[in-house]
């Protein structure tokens, strides 16, 4: 059978402020009918640009060379790179369709979802409104939107995130294209929703025979859905292989490094056991650095909107030198707890004691003694540094504020030590934050958090904005420093595998409530609660064979 899409020696460069930058460099790929081809890579690898080229969606600043030939179901061929605008428009939606990363920004907020699906149908040939609408209802039912006859007249904001992604898939599917390009289709979604969307894509491929080009950075997703994998690095395809072969026997060094960097559940358990056994006697009775009792945090409503309870009745403790991993999906309240511990969000009910200070009703003056003993690492490396100060000035800020140094210059020796501790060259101290990469910035952020040698470090999703290989390095550094300096830590993350790597104990949050708490072996090895089980089963593992088994296990859970 001939390929539905053939990319031959594709090269793309973009005009930027710094002159042209090459994003894709000599890529050749083809996709067979009914096949799922995963294109994997980290940021800057050119995978998204390659995907957009398949639909001719590159911005005007792009210059393209090579050929991208699509073959429709009727055998018509279109060379996307060289074809005229009108022909390209005909091919879009009919021969190739796209599923985007962020479903909420892809649906036009001022039109009903039905209007948007019907529009796509009627853009390709004379179809009566009634017939098109009928077709739209069918396709919505096909992607699992309940009550489609009624829901078709709803606006996008009336659907949940997972449902929106289903609607985006319905739009891609409606004209029966031979190829769907899915650009990080589950990245913006919670892990339980991700599992559902991946299931949907698999079913649709099986039922309609549509080929899928799956763009992703997540090796678990690849293992779950792909038939064949192309690994991209710096604009080039470094390796192409069937999925089983790639995971079992990766050929390229980059692929190997990438696979090795993916955190796997169970890796941290041994380390946690070892640490637990080396605790001194009486440690369990020592005064905890954090003790939350029936903690309640409410965001007051404004203008008659109801108040929102973000955290409800949570009790937990962190003892000296202990790492507590706090896991949950979006809206679970995990970040709120982290911010409350640092005094950034007021406590509404119950009690929260941090380093001996009661946070409920605490004023700025009450927190004075506690502050130098606590460090914080933020999620977004892009905004966690004042863009107008150098890295050295930023890292010195805690020392200056707490009177350990007169000025940033006077603190420079300590700053250099800190930078070295997080494995950044001293000279980086003189750079500005935007001159560092995301991983480097998170390391500098760690240096700032540790500047005062705190007893407690709060890390709010410190690696979730990083590429997986960068994340691996930062996590490793984190573990080393924790071992060396012995600070207690609250580590917040949405990723079970990441938390498992570092934490002594794991607490699972769901909608503001604490669902389950225990050591990694307890929570991940033998979860007691349904929600934990579902969360665990939804997390795709980077191994196609194991993932197939887990999929079955998840299905059993959902049925049961």
């Amino acid at each position: 059978m001939s390929a539905v899409a053939t990319i031959t020696d594709l090269a793309v460069s973009f005009a930027t402020d710094a002159g042209p930058v090459r994003a894709v460099d000599g890529v050749s790929l083809d996709v067979s009918p009914g096949e799922v081809l995963a294109v994997v890579g980290e940021s800057g690898s050119g995978k998204t640009v390659t995907a957009k080229t398949l639909l001719g969606l590159l911005p005007e600043t792009a210059t393209t060379r090579g050929a991208v030939v699509l073959t429709g179901r009727d055998g018509r061929e279109t060379d996307v790179v060289h074809v005229s605008g009108a022909k390209l428009r005909e091919a879009r939606g009919r021969d190739v369709a796209m599923v985007f990363q962020e479903p909420s920004s892809v649906l036009n907020p001022v039109y009903t979802v039905g209007w948007q699906i019907v529009e796509g149908i009627r853009a390709h040939g004379e179809v009566s409104h009634k017939v098109a609408r009928q077709r739209a209802v069918e396709v919505l039912r096909q992607v699992g939107i309940p009550d489609p006859e009624h829901r078709i007249d709803h606006y996008p904001h009336q659907f949940s995130g997972g449902q929106k992604q289903r609607i985006v898939i319905a739009m891609a599917l409606v004209l029966g294209p031979s190829l769907i390009v899915a650009d990080e289709p589950t990245t913006a979604l919670d892990v339980t929703v991700q599992a559902e969307i991946l299931d949907l894509l698999r079913t649709l491929r099986d039922e309609t025979g549509t080929a899928i080009v799956l763009i992703t950075h997540n090796m678990g997703v690849v293992a779950d859905l792909a038939d064949r994998v192309a690994v991209m690095y710096q604009g080039k395809v470094v390796e192409q292989a069937p999925v089983g072969e790639l995971f079992a026997d990766p050929q390229d060094d980059y692929t190997r490094a990438l696979l090795k960097a993916v955190p796997r559940i169970g890796e941290g358990t041994a380390r946690a056991v070892e640490r637990a056994s080396s605790r001194p006697d009486g440690w369990a009775d020592s005064e905890p650095v954090v003790r939350a009792d029936d903690l309640r945090i409410v965001y007051p409503g404004r203008f008659r909107q109801p108040a929102f309870t973000a955290v409800d009745g949570v009790s937990l403790t962190i003892r000296p030198g202990e790492v507590l991993g706090l896991v949950g999906e979006s809206g679970s309240g995990k970040t709120t707890i982290a911010r409350a511990i640092a005094g950034l969000t007021p406590v509404s009910g119950g009690s929260l004691k941090v380093l001996g200070t009661e946070m409920r009703g605490a004023k700025g003056r009450d927190l004075k003694a506690m502050r130098p003993r606590l460090g914080f690492v933020f999620q977004d490396p892009a905004t966690s540094f004042n863009p107008l100060l150098t890295i050295a000035q930023c890292v010195a800020e805690p020392l200056v504020v707490h009177g350990r140094a007169k000025s940033a210059e006077a603190a420079r020796r300590r700053v250099d030590e800190l930078l070295e501790a997080v494995q950044l060259p001293r000279s980086y101290g003189d750079r500005f934050p935007h001159e560092l990469s995301g991983g480097q910035r998170q390391r500098a952020s760690l240096a700032r958090g540790l500047a005062l040698d705190p007893e407690l470090l709060v890390a709010d999703e410190p690696t979730s904005a990083l590429d997986v290989s960068v994340q691996a390095r930062v996590l490793e550094l984190f573990a080393e420093l924790q071992k060396e300096l012995g600070f207690a830590c609250l580590f917040v993350s949405h990723d079970l595998a990441v938390v498992d790597l570092l934490a002594d104990r794991i607490a699972v949050l769901y909608r503001g409530e604490l669902v389950e708490e225990g050591t990694g072996a307890e929570v991940l090895g033998a979860p007691r609660e349904d929600y934990t089980r579902r969360l665990l089963a939804s997390l795709p593992v980077p191994d196609p064979v194991a993932q197939a088994e887990r999929r079955e296990a998840l299905r059993a859970l959902q049925v049961g």
């Binding site: 907020p109 001022v110 904001h157």
Partner: protein, 331 residues
Amino acid sequence: MRFLLIIPTVFILVTTVFVLMRATGDPITAALGGRLTPDQLAERIHAAGYDRPILVQYLEYLRGVFTGDFGTTLSDNRPVTEVLTTYGSATLELAAYAIVVALLLGIPFGMISGYFRDRLPDAVLRILAILAYATPVFFAGLLLKLVFSVWLGWFPVAGRVSTNGEIAMQMAGADSGFMLVDAFRTGDPAVVLDVLSHAVLPAAALGLLTAGVFLRLVRTNVIGTLGTGYVEAARSRGVAESRLVRKHAWRPALIPIITVAGMQVAMLLVGAVLTETTFEWRGLGFQLAEYLQARDFVAVQGIVVLMAVVVAVTNFLVDIIAALIDPRVRY
């Protein structure tokens, strides 16, 4: 809830005007200061009640504003309310013409400019829009007058209607104050034509200024929505480019456009004041300039308060309309 802000807003505006108008003293001294003896002046001030405690005067002023009583003008001894109702319609008519011109030019050209962004059509339209904005409306008026009235003789130099037309209206009993409406009521096409020919130049002067602002507004917002994910997604489904602009980019852009366009009502009124002065278009703006010359601050205060309240109320209505258009608010 945010809509309730209209109440404090109007209150603040009304108070601001009072404070500013009385900061320099009483209006009678300002108007007649040099012309009367101190005794006569004191008598007039006492008669008008300007020697009472300022707080009492303020409360009386507030009561007057909310009951529609703005006092009596000093220069020609007319109730200010009568001035407002007599000349308000002329200003409203001029503003309506300008809005029509602005919408007809600003929206389509703004969309074209946004779509062809940074290419030739956009370059030409943008420079024209900046020119329209940078030209003071009174200078544009004078230029139009010079070229089309004085040199070419196509349109009358000033006013809203010729004497014959005015007589025809009086005979027909048409006195709504809206010249075009009245002209139609005479049933005489010549009168309608006469009124329209008087309106062309003022409407063009004020309309071009407003159109320039609208064009910029539409352009910026359409560029913003053209760059969004949903436009790219619609493009990926094979939707035609013109439809992307007319439907996908335009409708979401409309919400901020309406909100900001509402704020331009203030600019439109200021423009109307200046245009009326240029073309002797006897509306509130023309009247305001006259009273300013006469230093009749009672009249000035009434006209300014009315205009400020009109602006605030229009903004309020526009906000509600914008909210009604947005399905995220509606549902």
